[in-house]
Symmetry: C2
Subunit: 208 residues, 2 copies
Amino acid sequence: MGFDIKPAQGRRRTAGTAASQRQNNRRHKVLAAAAKLFAAKGLSGTSMRDIASATGMLPGSLYYYFPSKDELFLQVHADAVADIDARVVEALEGVSDPWERLEAAAGAHLEGLLRRDGTVAIVQPHFDDQDPELAQRLRVQRDGYEARFGELVAALPLAQEEDRRLLRLLLLGGLNWATLWVKEGPDRQSPAEIGRAFVGLIRRQVGV
Amino acid sequence: MGFDIKPAQGRRRTAGTAASQRQNNRRHKVLAAAAKLFAAKGLSGTSMRDIASATGMLPGSLYYYFPSKDELFLQVHADAVADIDARVVEALEGVSDPWERLEAAAGAHLEGLLRRDGTVAIVQPHFDDQDPELAQRLRVQRDGYEARFGELVAALPLAQEEDRRLLRLLLLGGLNWATLWVKEGPDRQSPAEIGRAFVGLIRRQVGV
DNA sequence: GTGGAAGCCAAACAATCGTTTGTTTAAACT
DNA sequence: AGTTTAAACAAACGATTGTTTGGCTTCCAC
């Protein structure tokens, strides 16, 4: 079951541009609304009617763009992963020191996660293991991204032997969990600050 | 009908005990099954029928023990928090060094989280903010527990000024997230090992 | 202008949801 | 003994779920 019917793509002629432009606008609008709702209420907590009414459409109309709720969710997830990955790549540009690279990546990662509006904050699981097939497809989407952090951690110069895997998991866990406690408001720490602080706590001598 | 000043307890006959025993058994069975399902599939991902069939009962019968699905979930959540809190308290007994105390607490916390069977692994949010009232009641249940980690972190001797709040959040985030990647099998690291490793990564000098 | 596809609505589908109701069974108390 | 009460079943309630179907527009290509 691959991509049998990819609606309205590769339209011929100039008209296709305008038409698919509007289509993409609509489609993108659905994806944005779905991302917001999925991030806030989960997969089974969000109904197709919720998404439809958030985009000013009717439930059935969504099926013109996406063949099923699961496929819609997978697309949202894929977009989110791609977006956050792009942020990290961009943040790494021009940074050469390994620890600084990790700091930059951590900040970009968290910043991407916190974009609950706009794109998404769904790089995290917790989204209904109900269907094992869906769960696996989601994992595949994430694996590529997480490998990037593996490389960053592998490049770190360490004072002594450490379990680099646990180092990566501690940092990523702390960052992913941060989406649950970072609050809005003026005294809110920026994602970059938090990322730098976390990396610093690991890097430096903290205890006496 | 006057007031019968009846001691709802201290039945002379063993019958009263036996009855409430069976009641508690059944009720506990429901709680256990619900905990397992909620932990695996989330609140909205688990139906009352799922819970009923897992306990060998009919859907309607659950309402003899719990007035609603939300109340059942709250009870499961409360039990989970109490259980993991007790684990942490027990693990702290006889340990006096602040860093060792944090290590012990971290291990016990993770061990409690990983008990997906038996008790639960629901100290974490991600469970449908849908109903704000429910979300708040869940938060209240968790706040008391998390305060314990605040005390442990406050007692740490630090090499220099650090943001103790971020230290706590990094560690707890890493631990909570661990429930998603800790695998079964022979080469699986124990919760205590992971907790000690995480605390060590923060405490020691890691970078060069 | 005519044909036909793109885009969306309107309405309904069967299935499942949380919950309620009335009744039965079995045990316990008097 | 007779009465009460806890515990569960059996069946249905209305609401909501994901999804399907058919038709109505709109607009471009010819």
